[in-house]
Symmetry: C2
Subunit: 208 residues, 2 copies
């Protein structure tokens, strides 16, 4: 079966994209690392760009699906707390972060890179992937944070996203450990512990 070649390419490309970025990684590097022929990428994926899209999709789609499932469960039963909604938003990320890191320590950077490196077309992919997520969670946060307007909630949620992306990026300033510790449970606890007061903080008093 040729599925093996596909997977080898994907595995090699993920790590290289994470380590060097999409633009700086050549098809030759990918195929050599994967131990397959140079033409395999174009044969199996059509183009280097398609390969990127497929890789991105494979990692992002399950995460967002899990997010929506958790939120559904949350809203099905009783009235959730801020921590509950935050947890539904953050937990899938930490799960995939841990999974990626087990596969390769540098792999999580792939996610954060795609957000910075993204070109025009990558923006469309993101909009498609995260449109529903955003709507659903903004509504959910609106219910548990009635003292904040939608625009403020949106702004703060983006702060959370910023932290999460930094989590995936890891830290490469020497002498500093990563934001994400070895224990995902503990990282979630810490994340909730700081992001919850951040989301819940009262509006500043406007002095006009």
């Amino acid at each position: 079966m040729s599925q093996q070649t596909r997977n080898q390419i994907i595995r090699a490309a993920e790590v290289l994209f994470a380590r060097k970025g999409y633009a700086a990684t050549s098809v030759r590097e990918i195929t050599e690392a994967a131990g397959v022929n140079i033409a395999a990428v174009n044969y199996h994926f059509g183009s280097k760009e398609n390969l990127l899209i497929e890789i991105l999709d494979r990692v992002v789609s399950p995460v967002n699906a899990e997010r929506l499932k958790l939120l559904d469960e949350l809203e099905a039963q009783d009235t959730p707390s801020v921590e509950d909604v935050l947890s539904a938003f953050l937990f899938p990320d930490l799960r995939i972060l841990d999974e990626l890191r087990r596969r390769d320590p540098e792999l999580p950077r792939f996610v954060s890179r795609m957000y910075s490196e993204g070109s025009e077309f990558m923006s469309r992919v993101k909009g498609h992937q995260f449109g529903e997520i955003q709507d659903r969670f903004l509504a959910a946060f609106g219910n548990v944070l009635p003292h904040l307007n939608r625009e403020e909630i949106e702004w703060r949620l983006h702060c959370v996203v910023g932290i999460v992306l930094y989590l995936f990026a890891g830290v490469d300033v020497p002498g500093v450990g990563s934001l994400a510790g070895p224990d995902p449970e503990r990282t979630l606890t810490r994340l909730l512990n700081v992001s919850s007061p951040m989301m819940s903080a009262p509006l500043p008093v406007r002095e006009d």
Copy 2:
């Protein structure tokens, strides 16, 4: 004077690096946008990589210098608050963010890109640039947050950095405005309003 050619190259390269990333931007694009000869980059800067270093330095150094100056002033007088230290950390970023945005709306992304796109050698640059900053501010936060150990403070400060980087990255998910509004003062207010409770939050109770 040839200083003009240098500046034209820098200005063009900044925007292109911000828009497309370093690796995806060619020297030809830069020189064409700058209206100078193709050889000018190598003549004036030695290499494309040197050009990047110089650009990065010109934007990061003043910011960190201002940070240290504000912190010095703060520690010279009376006992500062969490907001004070946070403000000294964040204000220079917002100033440069505003300045960059005035020059070109896409320019701020340059900063965030350099953090994700960075290769091995870029890591050394960062370590050199931010080593002192980190030490000084960790100590300052340690004084105003006596209930937190150094490791926790470091972790939370990195959360703040994550938010700031997202600030510079802007948001390119369609239908969503940027984290940084048009008014830097207001952005600082909002930032302090959420990051202050985040930094000050009590430690979670460990249930062992």
